[in-house]
Symmetry: C2
Subunit: 107 residues, 2 copies
DNA sequence: CTAATATAAAACCTATAGGTGTTATTTAGA
DNA sequence: TCTAAATAACACCTATAGGTTTTATATTAG
């Protein structure tokens, strides 16, 4: 199989503020676990757990490089979020359009 | 004050699949607690708890109508999600642009 | 080959998310 | 005005998310 089954969905993965911070850090630069951890007050083990959740959601990928493990951002799972959001944007757009119609035809 | 402080953020609110289902139901039709509950296997009390979380996040609004309480969707908090997502879309767009440049200038 | 560095793995703790059932309270309608 | 319907308010249970510390395994640099 090309890709392991996704155990954590993107909604759950980005629910935690620390994990969102990790994603932001990785958007600035690919980093090792040690580098990432240095930005947080929590233990390195805790950071690794968050990285595991993000990995299971497919939002990041870790590659061993010598004794380091470098983490990279992955965009693909955010597409699901984008689609989900698009549905409600469309919903809202329709509602506003109807409202506009009512206002214009009201006296 | 016009609006209570937001106790639950939108990321947390949409993390639960049941709550996402509730939002979807409300996008089809404004509904009472009883109506919403009828679509789920969990107890009405549990549904109410989810509605409370969604309310605290500002994603829904409940209005008493006689002995019923009708729930409505609210779009506004989704803007934060949209902005968050836009950042990573931009990030990805830039990355692809750079990649394209490299490919085109490579031999 | 050994010391130091970086990560992995395991066992454990605690707060809380998501669920339950039971008991008020409010309101509509015969 | 009494009963049934709809919601609100409690008290309670259990799994797990998010954190800790400790111990083991790889890997690089002298």
């Amino acid at each position: 199989m090309s890709q392991a089954v996704q155990k954590v969905d993107v909604f759950q993965a980005i629910a935690d503020p620390t994990r969102r911070d990790v994603l932001h850090l990785l958007s600035e630069r690919n980093q090792s676990i040690a580098e990432i951890s240095s930005h947080f007050d929590i233990s390195r083990t805790a950071v690794v757990k968050h990285l595991n959740v993000l990995t299971e959601a497919g939002l990041v990928r870790g590659e061993k490089n010598g004794r380091e493990k470098i983490y990279y951002l992955q965009f693909e799972p955010l597409k699901e979020l984008k689609d989900w959001l698009a549905y409600y944007e469309q919903f809202w757009h329709n509602k506003l359009t109807k409202l506009k119609f009512v206002v214009e035809n009201d006296q």
